[in-house]
């Protein structure tokens, strides 16, 4: 093609190629402009490996005061799974009215549970007899689970200005030159911050055309409910459990999880933790949700490791008394089943403590 062109035109073409690429690389800088006015109030993130400076919610001191006031003997940490299972008043009744503290927040993951343990329970100086931490399948070693996007705000309430152990675990998970390069590019364009508001807006706008104003904020959640585990084909539900085979390698996941610092902290403060693996919603015929072999191996390795660290472990999965009729939606339990569940939990705890 070039041979037929005059020399000056060929030179122009060669110059225009980098010019085009430069224009392409420059256009996304407009994203920075959209963020220029909102740069006030940015603070360095407690997870610099994951995100740049941003606005954050303040740390919540309230739970520390509450724990001190209660001088809790039992403490529950977790998300909506223990939130819809455990009746802490009932648990106190079953244990001579000993105070029971709850540090539960829906939509949280291992990072939140670790920070709640460290920054609220340990910081309060309270020494409960037992601290319960609930999880499902691989959640405990899934450092990235519910860590970014909409989950950041929950994490803010429980995070201090610096969280080196959590940041190190996150950095270990997202390490690699490509991840670093990609993060650098996204930050240089402020793309990650624009994404924070743009993505929810894009997913929200259809509600304007479909439902009246009072239902606009709830429609996406209503649609999500249609895809809960109990609505899936049996085979697909099994696949959901086996999200990622790599996650099931306990030995590989452990070093870059929050478990080691959590256990170190517990030992240093003479606290004992009882990890409770929740029973996923059983099948319609009452049989347990399918578990691939590698998930069984993962749980067995986790259990052995916790025992070696002097911690307790309860696996609700094989407990057939937790039947389908106790469940409400997904893995959540019905309100009127909480008392029954709490009795069963207490029974298991007493057996463990006697050992």
């Amino acid at each position: 093609v070039h041979d037929s062109y005059p020399v000056h035109f060929r030179r122009l073409l060669l110059v225009l190629l980098p010019v085009t690429l430069a224009v392409m690389a420059t256009v996304p800088l407009l994203l920075r402009g959209t963020q220029a006015t909102s740069d006030e109030g940015l603070v360095p993130s407690y997870l610099p490996a994951l995100e740049p400076a941003r606005q954050r919610l303040p740390f919540k001191n309230g739970p520390i005061e509450d724990l001190r006031y209660l001088d809790a003997t039992w403490v529950f940490i977790g998300d909506s799974i223990p939130g819809t299972r455990v009746d802490h008043h009932r648990f106190a009744e079953l244990n001579n009215l000993e105070a029971t503290g709850v540090l539960l927040r829906p939509g949280t993951g291992a990072a939140y549970w670790y920070l709640a343990f460290k920054n609220w329970l340990v910081a309060s100086g309270v020494k409960p007899r037992l601290t319960f931490i609930y999880f499902r399948d691989y959640n405990l070693t899934d450092t990235m689970f519910r860590l970014s996007d909409q989950y950041r705000w929950a994490l803010d309430e429980v995070a201090r200005d610096h969280e080196p152990a959590l940041n190190a675990a996150v950095a270990a998970r997202i390490q690699g030159p490509w991840a670093a390069a990609r993060a650098r590019v996204e930050r240089s364009y402020s793309a990650d911050r624009v994404r924070d508001w743009l993505e929810p807006a894009v997913r929200h706008w259809p509600t304007w055309l479909i439902v009246p104003p009072e239902r606009r904020s709830t429609l996406p959640d209503e649609v999500n409910q249609r895809f809960h585990l109990d609505k899936l084909r049996p085979f697909e539900a099994a696949d959901m459990d086996a999200v990622d085979r790599a996650q099931a390698d306990f030995a590989a996941m452990l070093p870059s999880s929050v478990l080691p610092p959590m256990i170190r902290l517990a030992k240093a403060n003479n606290l004992q933790i009882c990890f409770v693996r929740a029973r996923r919603r059983p099948n319609a015929d009452g049989t347990p949700a399918p578990q691939p072999d590698y998930l069984r191996k993962y749980v067995s390795d986790l259990s052995a490791w916790l025992a070696s660290q002097g911690m307790l472990f309860i696996d609700d999965t094989p407990d057939s008394r937790l039947s389908l009729d106790l469940y409400e939606d997904g893995d959540h339990m019905r309100r009127d089943a909480r008392s029954f569940y709490t009795d069963l939990l207490n029974e298991k705890v007493q057996v463990l403590l006697k050992k």
């Binding site: 093609v1 070039h2 073409l13 225009l16 690429l21 224009v23 994203l31 894009v202 429609l219 649609v223």
Partner: protein, 482 residues
Amino acid sequence: VTFHSLDYLAFFGLVVAVYWCLPHRAQNALLLVASYAFYGYIHLWFLIPIAFSTMVDYVAGLAMERDPPRKKLWFSLSLVTNLGLLGTFKYFNFFVENVAAVLHGVGLDVPHVALRLVLPVGISFYTFQSLTYTIDVYRGQVKARRNLLDFALFVCFFPQLVAGPIERARSLLPQMEGPRVFSAQLAREAALLMIWGFFKKLVIADNVGVIANKVFGLENPGFFVLWAGVFAFGMQIYADFSAYSDIARGSARWLGFTLMRNFDHPYIARNPIDFWRRWHIALSSWFRDYVYISLGGSKHGEMRTARNVLITFFLSGLWHGASWNYVLWGTYHGVLVAGYRLGRQLPWPKAAPWMKPALAIGQGVLMFVLAHIGWLMFRETNFDYLLRYATQSPFAADLAQIEAGAYLFLTVLTFSWPIFAHDWIVALTGVQQLVLPTREQLRRPAHEVGVALTQGLVAGVLLTGILVLHSRASLDFIYFAF
């Protein structure tokens, strides 16, 4: 290495940088090494069948030319080798299962036999591409090649190795053999084509693909949610596959090669024949040239033509995968094409001029719906579910389901509107490639500067879209599975 990874960009950047510093023969050697590295990186053992297919076709091509009396024998060797590889890796278990099921039906139980083999990625593409060489040599349309390096590169050229476009020997081999010239103009176009491909994959296909996967994972989605899912899949497969083709064409163009267009705005097609002239052009033209025409094409009356169409589409469906739903999908399209051919012979009344635009839109919408009925068959591999879906009634849906379906539909539309905008602008303006300048415009410096800046701006907007709206779920290219 997949196209939408940073590994690929690094790999490709390195290959391009070294490539243009080398003389022609060394360029081909580099491309061959790079192509085998690219393919072997997915799985080292995948190199064995591709090298085997290459050697057999190379020898068969030469032998057909040197030994004309045994031409048929050598051609059969190539055919049996390529189709044998495909049959063994892709269809053996499917065949055995179905034979066993038939025998079981007549009361004969046979022991379960299955090959536990990993399907080599792209085997359907490179065996068909290699066959274009031996078929054309057999037909005397292409000369047998003596240079093994060039021929091996033709079979495994990395930009189009895994998912096409399936090139013809007569088009790609001469490009392999002749010297290439770096064109800054073409490189700009190629960059734009590639970034449009990345946008379609990362922003459109992967975002709507999540919705399609979720809907097809439901036990009982209901009519409206199901069809929102089918719409999502229709957009996903188009965005995903055309993205792959665009990135492949863009990559090849940076290396000085021109690959064929695989998609020509298929969702503006107005009838089944039009659709297949626009959808997966490389494969449909392969089947047209090597199967349909070999069967006699349209030369022997309408009924024979209809039979040939049905056989061709049946095989085209089977090519997509060892599963009856692909066969059903192919046959469905065969029926549409054959039915349309027969239907247009009828004495339809002529439409008044004022009705023509509305008629064109109506035809376009109808073809869009028909294509999506086909996508339901393509996506749903379980026949029990397919039958259940076929009997679902929109009147059984409650308001909540209609709202959910509308929400999902609009969400899919939100992500996929750039494709519709692009296609409809093309349809309304008649511009073949909206973003590319015409040859006549290329020589004027002022125009060239304007084009370059416009290309930069468009690419910048697409890059911005990728940065802020790329899906968090990174899905494989759909056609990797075939």
